[in-house]
Every structure is written in C-alpha cells, then in structure tokens.
C-alpha cells in the first residue's frame, strides 16, 4: 500500500524543479516514516539532483530522518516553555541513556529520538512523549526510570511472541 502511495507522490513531482524537493521529502517521510537511501536515490533521479545535495538539504531541517523510527519513538519538546524549565538537560540525559543523537535510531531499532518544536503541552513542561504517551515535568533523573519502563515492556512483548 505504501508502495503505491510513494509511486503516486513521485508521479506528482515528476519533471519538478529543485524547489519541489522539500515538499516531496515531506510527503515521502509522511508515508514511510523516514527517508530511505533507496528513495533518496529515486528522488535524485526524478529531480536530477545528486543524493549528496538532497542529504545536505534534508539535514538542514530537524524534521527529516534517515532511519526508520524505533519501536519507541521519543520526542523531546524544545519549545520555549520546556526550554525555560530545563529541557536541554533532559535531552542530554536521553541522548546519554540511549547513546543516540536526535534524529537517530538505536542499533536494535528499539528507540528513536526526535527533537520537536512545541508539542503544545506547555502546562506540562518540560515534557517528553513516547509513542504519543506524555510524561510531564520530567527532570534528567527521571529518564532511566521512564526508558526502562519501555524496555521492560519490550522484554515482555518479546517473551509473548
């Protein structure tokens, strides 16, 4: 199904110029969840751009990712309210714990990390969301507990499989 959707998007942008790049990348990521190498190469052929250029443009923006999201997708809000309440330290703690940077997915595909502008839950600042589940008023010390919770669930899921 997603293959058809991708083909449709690509068709829509056929013959496009360089300024179609960003909207095209956005639509592809909406369907696939990330920008695969294969797809970036196809986009390069479509718009006659080197893949290095596409990668360069895409990395200019925070929103694009180049690996599929993990089973648990962690979003850290870096909106003003969260920032004021110390979200930088929270992000730091998560990066250390998961050993990945924003935009990356860990090796096993368990966790991925994304920095988002504002989740719109400023009252809960600093806030993080894991697969849409909000954790409010987070401080760095909370991070291992929160993440281990998901790790435990994952172990259980695996045993049940």
């Amino acid at each position: 199904m997603s293959k058809d959707a991708i083909a449709k998007i690509m068709e829509k942008y056929a013959g496009g110029e360089r300024d179609s790049l960003i909207p095209l990348l956005q639509e592809i990521q909406d369907v696939e969840g990330y920008l695969s190498r294969k797809q970036v190469e196809e986009i390069g052929k479509l718009l006659k751009l080197p893949t290095g250029k596409i990668y360069g443009v895409a990395t200019f923006y925070n929103q694009f990712r180049f690996k599929p999201q993990g089973r648990y997708h962690v979003q850290v809000c870096r909106g003003t309210a969260c920032h004021v309440k110390g979200s930088a330290a929270v992000l730091d703690a998560i990066e250390k714990d998961l050993n990945i940077k924003s935009g990356e997915t860990d090796r096993k595909g368990d966790f991925s990390l994304e920095v988002v502008a504002c989740i719109g839950a400023c009252g809960l600042a600093p806030v993080i969301s894991v697969n849409g589940e909000f954790h409010a008023g987070v401080i760095p010390k909370d991070i291992p507990r929160i993440l281990n919770g998901y790790r435990d669930t994952e172990v259980q899921n695996e045993q049940n499989r």
């Binding site: 190498r37 970036v40 190469e41 390069g44 751009l49 080197p50 893949t51 290095g52 250029k53 596409i54 990668y55 360069g56 990395t59 200019f60 180049f66």
Partner: protein
C-alpha cells in the same frame, strides 16, 4: 571602458565585471577565500570586502559589479579590521596543528593569519573534532581543518558534475558531507582530487604513500623502480619555485637516481605502448564492426564514473590498461625475467599527476597472484616532498636519461599529459596502421585547446572518422547522452577527468589555474615540436619489447598483461 578610483589611484574598469576582477587586472591585491575563477560568486567568506565611498556597509568585491565613478579603498582601517575579524573567527575553532599539517607553509588560512598579523587567540570556541576519513584510496578528509568555504563542493558539482559532497546540517553544526555521511570510499567520489587543488587548507589532501616508498627504499631486499608520468616533468619545477611551463625531464631522472631508486623509467614509454595497443584495438573495432565509438581508458576517474553512472556503456571503453598499469605489468614480467629478478622483490613506484591513480592500482585485474602491477603511487606534490626530504639540490642537478629496456619515448607518448594528447597520438599511429604512411601533418589542431568538448573529422585513406575529445569529466554526460540517444557518427572519444588533462590533475602543484594549465601544455607541445621521433610506432624500445616478448599488439601475451575489464558499481549518486 571607464575609470574608477582605487586607493587614490585611477584605474580602468570594464562594464559588467566585478570590482575584484578590475582590481586584479590593476594588480591590486584583495584576499579571497571562496572566490572561484569562472564560477558565480557565492559571497560566503566576505574576506574580499572593500570600502566604497558613499556606501554604508563594506562591499564584497567578488560579487559587486563596478560602476563608473566608484571610489574604493581596499585597505581602509574598517576593511582591514573586518578581514582580520573574519580570520580570527575562522581560527577560533581551528586546530592549532600547523606544525604537523601537510599544508604548513602552503595554507591560505595560515598565510592570511600571518598577513593580518594575528598573534593571539582572541576569540575562542570549542575545537573542531571529527574523525578523519581515511577510507578513500586517494583522498583524506580532515573536517577539523575545514573552513566551509564551499570550493570543494562547487568544483565537484559545478565543474566535475559529480556532486559527491555537499554542505550538510546547519548553524555551528554545518559540515561538508557525502550523502548519508558515508565514508568517501563508498560514495560517488571518483577520486579526481580537483577538490584538493581548490581547498585553501589541509582539510583535503592526498592519501600519502611516502612512508611505504621510503621503507622500500631502505629495504636491501627490494629492487625499487620508479616511473614518472608524461606531465610530471613539466609541472614539478613549480614545487621548487620555478615558473610554470618548464620541462625538467633530465633533472627529474637524476633526482630519482640520487634518492636511490634502482631504475628510473618514463611512463611516456608505456604511453607509446598504450597507443600501439589502443590504435590496434580501434582499427580492429572499425574493420570488424566492433563497438563504436571506442572510448579511452587511461583516466581512472572517468572509468569509475562510467562504471557507476553508465554501466551499460562500459563496452565502449577500450580494454587497454592505462600507461601506468602497462609499464607496471611489463616491469614485473619482461623486465624481471630479463634481469633475473623475482617479481615479488620488485617494489614499483609511480609518480603521477593524479590521485585517482592510487585508486587504479587497487582495481581488480591490475596484477595477479598478489603481485601488483604497481605498488605505490605518489603525486607530483609528494614526489617534490620526497626530493626535498632526501636533501637534493634540485635546481643544480645534471641531466639523466631513463633506464633500459624502456629508455626511449616518443613525443606522442609525452602528449598524453594534456587534453587531446591521447587522441592525437592514437590518430598518428592508427593512420599509419591503416594506410602504411605517416600523416602529412602530425599536428591535429582541432583536438588541442581548452574547450570542454572538441570534435574533429579525420580522413584516413578512404576512411572518414569523426572523433571527440572530452576535456574534463563535467562535459562527459552531454556526449554520453547524445550517444545513448542514437548519435552514431563518432569512432573514437578521448575523456580526461581533469579539465586540461593530467597537467592539471588532482596531484599537481596547488594553485593550478588557467594560465598555468596553458604554459604547462605549451611545454608539452614544444617538446612535440622540437624532437624527432613523434609517433609511437617508431619507438625502437617498443619494437624490441614486441619482438622479444609480447609478440604483437592485441596478441595473447598483450591481452593477458596489458588489457583489463570493467564492472558495474553501485554507489549513491
């Protein structure tokens, strides 16, 4: 033409040009870091700012058009202060590595710091820290020394049409990166090294094999031989401070002998050998209905390009190995047998204008049973370093001659060093092979010169052949697309990866520019004009090589030693 005033002096300006061009013509120096001759200005570095009377801010001279009546101050206190601050900012996160840096004493950043009297670190930021990318056989990338001038990106994309690298990320995290931040060896980089030539700092450099060469030289077990490419003798003198376009062939041979190489050979000899094989192949293809147009195969960047971008067209490529590989192959077979030396004891070095040659020696089929045709490739720049390292007084060397059994070379072989040279040399010999006579005028004017694509119609006996010369890989796509689209009048195409040919290769002296390319080429043509043996098929040592060992061109032994094959390559383009 109109007049403007610069530093209280009146100079002539031309409508449509930039302030910088006007200043250059008048020999007024303004420093630049991102400016590239012939390309649109990006205004990225702002080092070229000048003060213009009546204007508020400082004006980047590289991108601002001159107008009549301008009053310019290139060294006003404000302009100088601005430049110094830019330099200090560039240095703020720069590693203080000059002592250990390959560009020590040839670095534009260092020069600028010196010129502007930067004596302390006033501004300080976190030092750049990146892993050095050493994965490519040809190029080392050290991001920590990158000042993000963007020249490498532009040369790669706008001149070479490869686009292997680009800016990635943003703000203080901006870097030059390959697609998906992969290592360079698996990217679409074709190893041409043109980016090294334009890089103002030590961020890009060749992968050096000087240590391996020195180790071999001091190993008594090893018989160390060296070959030098046709273009080296007309460029290396620049590394010793001479002006461009001076041929130092004989001195170069002596320098290598003094360093301790057991034999000194000239790749121009095997360029003649390449011509014998390649012209035979061309004649064979024409007369037997083989794949045409045939395309030259001596430029390894071009080979990688066609393998990754047009794999369906590799059967157009001549199967001939390059002159470097051919000489390597006959050194470890014919020469080894003749002198009773075990091939595994020979250490074969080549001095090349090209960093892609470092990639070429690692290609499959370039040797057998773990004995490689060539063991190490060093660039012109590295060769000069080697000569200096051995304390040789280059300027006062007597002349020497290449060693037997590959002692003779023709000027046709020498012509390989410039764009159009392989074509010219091949035509001379193909003409002889087909008609039994020499061409009336050996000079083929139409394939000389600096245009991107040069075409010519040649009459060889009853045969009318159209040929094309691609000068710089950036021009190849156009011609390849024409051929894919059905164009069928061409018989033979020469492609050189670097604009200008080997004399402007990625391993040549830095600061290679249009004028230098011209005078280096001039030196090659002068050799061709003044010497007597100008066609490869008259090279006596080549004749002997065929008589004593190879048999005939395209024969079994030649096929085995001197020819190769190509493959499809998957890279992210």
């Amino acid at each position: 033409m109109f007049k403007i005033e610069v530093n209280n002096r009146i100079i002539e300006a031309e409508a449509g040009e930039t302030i910088l061009s006007t200043l250059k013509r008048a020999n007024i120096h303004v420093p630049t870091l991102c400016h590239m001759e012939g390309l649109l200005p990006t205004g990225a570095c702002r080092l070229c700012v000048v003060e213009v009377e009546g204007m508020n801010g400082l004006i980047p001279s590289c991108s601002y058009p001159v107008r009549e009546g301008l009053k310019i101050y290139t060294n006003s206190p404000r302009a100088v202060r601005a430049r110094k601050t830019i330099i200090e900012l560039l240095l703020a996160n720069h590693p203080d590595d000059c002592l250990y840096c390959v560009r020590n004493k040839s670095c534009q950043l260092q020069d600028l710091a010196e010129e502007y009297g930067v004596r302390e670190r006033r501004l300080s930021a976190e030092k750049n820290e990146y892993t050095i990318d050493q994965t490519s056989p040809s190029i080392v990338r050290d991001q920590a020394k990158c000042i993000l001038c963007g020249k490498c990106v532009r040369v790669c994309e706008e001149i070479q049409n490869i686009g292997a690298i680009d800016f990635a990320g943003r703000g203080s995290k901006t870097v030059i990166s390959t697609a998906f931040n992969e290592n360079l060896n698996v990217s679409s980089c074709i190893n041409c090294g043109q980016c090294i030539l334009v890089c103002p700092t030590g961020a890009l450099r060749e992968k050096s094999y000087l240590k391996e060469v020195r180790d071999a030289l001091s190993d008594p077990e090893k018989h160390v031989v060296v070959q030098h490419a046709p273009s080296i003798s007309v460029t290396i003198a620049e590394e010793f401070g001479a002006k461009s376009g001076i041929d130092v062939d004989g001195m170069l041979v002596t320098a290598f002998r003094q360093i301790g190489f057991d034999r000194v050979f000239d790749t121009s000899f095997s360029a003649d050998l390449t011509i014998m094989e390649e012209a035979s192949e061309l004649v064979h293809r024409i007369t037997t209905g083989g794949k045409l147009p045939m395309m030259t195969s001596c430029s390894p960047g071009w080979i990688k390009y066609i393998e990754q971008s047009y794999p369906e067209m590799t059967d157009h490529l001549s199967t001939c190995k390059s002159p470097q590989q051919m000489l390597g192959a006959v050194i470890k077979s014919y020469y080894a047998e003749k002198h009773n030396i075990k091939p595994e004891n020979i250490y074969s070095v080549s001095v090349m204008p090209c960093v892609a040659k470092k990639f070429e020696i690692q290609r499959p089929g370039m040797g057998e049973n773990n004995i490689f045709d060539v063991d190490a490739v060093i660039s012109t720049r590295e060769a000069a370093r080697l000569i200096k390292m051995y304390g040789i007084d280059f300027k006062n060397l007597p002349s020497g001659a290449s060693d037997t059994p590959f002692g003779e070379r023709t000027t046709a072989g020498k012509l390989f060093g410039g764009s159009g040279g392989v074509m010219e040399a091949a035509l001379r010999t193909a003409y002889f092979m087909i008609t039994g006579k020499e061409m009336e005028s050996l000079k083929v004017e139409a394939v000389r010169g600096q245009e991107g694509i040069k075409e010519a119609k040649i009459t060889i006996g009853k045969l009318e052949a159209s040929v094309a010369v691609v000068n710089g890989i950036g021009n190849a796509e156009k011609l390849l697309e024409q051929i894919k689209g059905g164009r069928d009048d061409l018989a033979f195409i020469e492609v050189m990866t670097c604009p200008g040919g080997c004399i402007a290769g990625g391993g040549q002296p830095l600061n290679t520019d249009k004028d230098k390319i011209k005078s280096r080429l001039g030196a090659l043509y002068k050799i061709d004009q003044t010497e007597n043996v100008r066609v490869s098929h008259k090279n006596k040592d080549i004749k002997r090589l065929y008589d004593e060992y190879l048999g005939e061109p395209l024969g079994e032994k030649s096929h085995h030693l001197l020819h190769t094959h190509y493959m499809k390559r998957e890279v992210l383009k």
